[in-house]
């Protein structure tokens, strides 16, 4: 064996050891965090139900049982039935699908917009920065629900009219499904409400990390900007971003519920928890089972996302690894 081979193998060993170390440590940290562990279960369950809900439900979400309208929980209908005799448990399972798609899609959109705007502001500074900050301020100064209502009221009719025109022009039945209008409006409103938070976070992270000593030290060693970005800025910004995304997912689901509650949410044939809560609220004194199920789900999921975010932040942040 030549010396070169010896160093080469030890190199691989070193790289391997460091990688497994970092991950093992992170997983161990996460596992040691009780709240985060508790939170993982409902979240995994949520995604599982969202994916496989239709195969799990005892009833179709639209199936009406006229003999058992507004029935209390029983062995037949575990969480009872609603006004139309639809099985509440089945509808909650289907509602997970709405919640997850709202959480994922709106978070993805607002995160991308926030990343782009925040990075531009943080990196270019000057006028661009001022413009972005101003935009975020303006957006954030408007009450979220009001914004959603305004968007719905002003854009829904023209958008539907446009869809109709497109249908007449193209004869594509895609344009006949008005459910897309709802989705676009809801996702759009959620993204509009949420992007400023991400943008400000990213901007702040970039500004603060850029002035950290280890970035200065890396620049003093002549490291190029790209490497500093990928090895120094991004990993160090990850922790807060993960927390924000995790909380943001929960937040988006709650907001969507609020939209539904106000009648500007997803009007899919598929149930949404927010819609169920708002329907249930009308008769919670006589038929509390209509409210309890979706409300509990909503609360559990929101809290879980927040706890998981905190746990991930601690686990992925070596500064808190003691020592």
């Amino acid at each position: 064996m030549t010396t070169q081979e010896i160093t080469a193998t030890s190199d691989i060993e070193i790289a391997e050891a460091s990688r497994t170390n970092l991950w093992r440590d992170a997983v161990a940290r996460l596992a040691a965090n009780r709240l985060a562990l508790v939170a993982i279960l409902p979240i995994v369950l949520l995604f599982f139900i969202a994916a496989f809900g239709p195969y799990l439900t005892p009833y179709d979400f639209l199936a009406q049982d006229f003999t058992a309208r507004l029935a209390s929980p029983s062995s037949e209908h575990w969480l009872g039935t609603d006004e139309l005799g639809r099985d509440v448990f089945s509808r909650i399972l289907y509602g997970a699908r709405t919640a997850v798609s709202v959480g994922l899609v709106s978070t993805a959109i607002s995160l991308i917009v926030g990343l782009v705007m925040g990075s531009l502001a943080g990196y270019l500074g000057g006028r661009v920065d001022m413009l972005v900050v101003w935009l975020t301020d303006v957006t954030r100064s408007m009450p979220a629900l009001l914004l959603a209502i305004v968007i719905n009221l002003t854009l829904k009719v023209p958008l539907e009219a446009w869809m109709e025109q497109m249908y007449l022009a193209t004869k594509n039945t895609f344009f006949r499904q008005t459910m897309w209008v709802d989705l676009v409006l809801v996702f759009g409103a959620l993204a509009l409400i949420q992007w400023p938070g991400y943008a400000r976070l990213i901007r702040g992270q970039i500004l603060s990390i850029r002035s950290r000593n280890y970035v200065l030290a890396a620049r003093a060693l002549g490291m190029p900007t790209g490497r500093i970005l990928t090895r120094y800025v991004i990993p160090n910004a990850m922790g807060p971003l993960i927390v924000a995304v995790s909380a943001g997912m929960g937040g988006a689901m709650v907001l969507e519920s609020a939209f539904s509650f106000l009648g500007v949410g997803v009007q899919l044939p598929i149930p949404s928890w927010g819609k169920m809560i708002s329907d249930g609220l009308r008769m919670w004194q006589t038929h509390p089972h209509l409210l309890v199920g979706p409300a509990v789900m909503m609360a559990v999921i929101t809290v879980s996302f927040a706890w998981l975010g905190d746990g991930l932040n601690d686990a992925l942040n070596p500064r808190q690894w003691g020592g």
Partner: protein, 339 residues
Amino acid sequence: MSVLLDVQELQTRFKVRKGYVYAVNGVSFTLEEGETLAVVGESGCGKSVTMLSLVRLLPPAASIENGQVLLRGEDLLQLDLRQLRDVRGGQIGMIFQDPMTSLNPFINIGTQMAEPLIYHRGMSKSEALARSAELLEMVGIPDGEARLREYPHQFSGGMRQRVMIAMSMSCEPAVLIADEPTTALDVTIQAQIVELVKALRDRSGVAVIWITHDLSVVAGIADRVIVMYAGYIVEEAPVDALFEDPRHPYTVGLMGALPSLEGETGTRLTTIGGSPPDLEDLPDYCPFHTRCPYAFDRCRTENPMLELVADASDRGHRAACWVDIREVEVQSNGAGASS
């Protein structure tokens, strides 16, 4: 000995909301091959900004308005960013005040140390890691190879400063700039770091610029000293001349031997009160006059140039003061404590 670094008329200012802050005002000095130059002065007098200006590592608000930074005859201020990166780390290494935050917490020591070697020296990763292990041992961290796998949080402050020194020296720079490298450390650790840099300097022949508030460190390490105040060099001398025969009132004050206006001796400068001014304009007065016990009328209307002192024992002994403090009594109309 030949001149390695020749800084001429360096001027750096910061754009602030209501105008500018003049942080470095026409600083000129030289550094010879293998020489150790100490830069002293209170907080805020422009030591760091001067050094960061040399390799243009300044914050966005700063701009270099004038000057030349000749490294072996090549003006660093004229280089493009790519060429400048080769100088940073490759020819001029830097270590900073706070070792606790100078390392990236997300990357293990080995990877961090290997980066400049790969980038500047074109080493393979395995070569760079092997070299890094040697470097760790060289700066007094035993079992270097094992420690490469560790993360910064597993190192103490003193250890981290050793790592920073190893990194900054890894590409064998011609100049090492140490910006208060011991300020954040315990006293015993401070002494160890000073000894380490001295040993490395003597072995490699690197020229060192050592920034400090602390004159006691200067005596042990420096060949020559620059004293800065309000962005100006106010005195420059070989280390012995400076300690035996300081000529600028501010230097005397730093040494804790400035006569106060009340006539007592041994009062420390800091007890006279005040701090270096943030200059909003280039001054047409001596920037020290508000704190100087020797100040007289001329000090408030004309800023003295850095000039050879009278009866200099060394040709390199210069000071910027209108007064020969060996001959003049403290002025009763001095502005010092009264302002």
